[in-house]
Subunit: 121 residues, 2 copies
């Protein structure tokens, strides 16, 4: 296999695969996009905003984003405790690229839908 293609082959620590795995998780992207629109948000508000994510999946997604330093979690010692999530600088630097991808999708959506119809016809 040519050298330049080797990086796409399966390897545990491959940076390309690593980013693909992150983007293989649509919930992470959605949470980042939402937190990018607000100063901070509580768990229940996030849950309602997304709509079709389970509480468990949202918890897992937030923990994973927090572990990667993309989201920050703050607990306020009230009764009951208030927990707020906000996007970090690192998360925002990623969000720039996600928004560009999203714009590409909006710009190309019509042409893609046309292509899909032609295949079905």
């Amino acid at each position: 296999m040519e050298k330049r293609l080797e990086i796409y082959s399966h390897a545990e620590d491959c940076p390309v695969r690593n980013v693909l795995n992150r983007f293989g998780d649509k919930w992470s992207i959605l949470v980042l996009m939402i937190l990018g629109e607000v100063d901070n948000m509580r768990f229940n508000k996030l849950h309602k905003t997304i709509g079709d994510i389970s509480q468990k999946m949202l918890t897992v997604t937030l923990r994973s984003l927090e572990a990667d330093g993309l989201v920050k979690r703050t607990i306020f010692p009230e009764i009951p405790p208030r927990v707020e999530y906000e996007i970090t600088d690192r998360g925002n630097s990623l969000l720039v690229h996600i928004h560009k991808l999203s714009s590409w999708a909006e710009e190309n959506m019509e042409a893609i839908n046309e292509s899909r119809k032609q295949i079905k016809a």
Copy 2:
């Protein structure tokens, strides 16, 4: 819910969701990245280059990319028939953004790995 957040709520035809679904499929991205490096490639070569994808999944992935007009499939009437895949202009316009995301991942990989260790510690 505020107007600006409404777009993230579940909707079948939501363009944001639509792009997320595409990026929820890491194989599609990987195939586009590989085809972006070559003029064209045959199925078996693609299969070997990726390494850990099943033939069936690769077939499904290629059909979906073809349906979206991101990849073009050409059959040469030889015996046995030769089938080659190449990236389209639309595919290349998407690939620009994928590469930027990939660069972001490489630049931030070390910091992210550090963050992950801190969580575990």
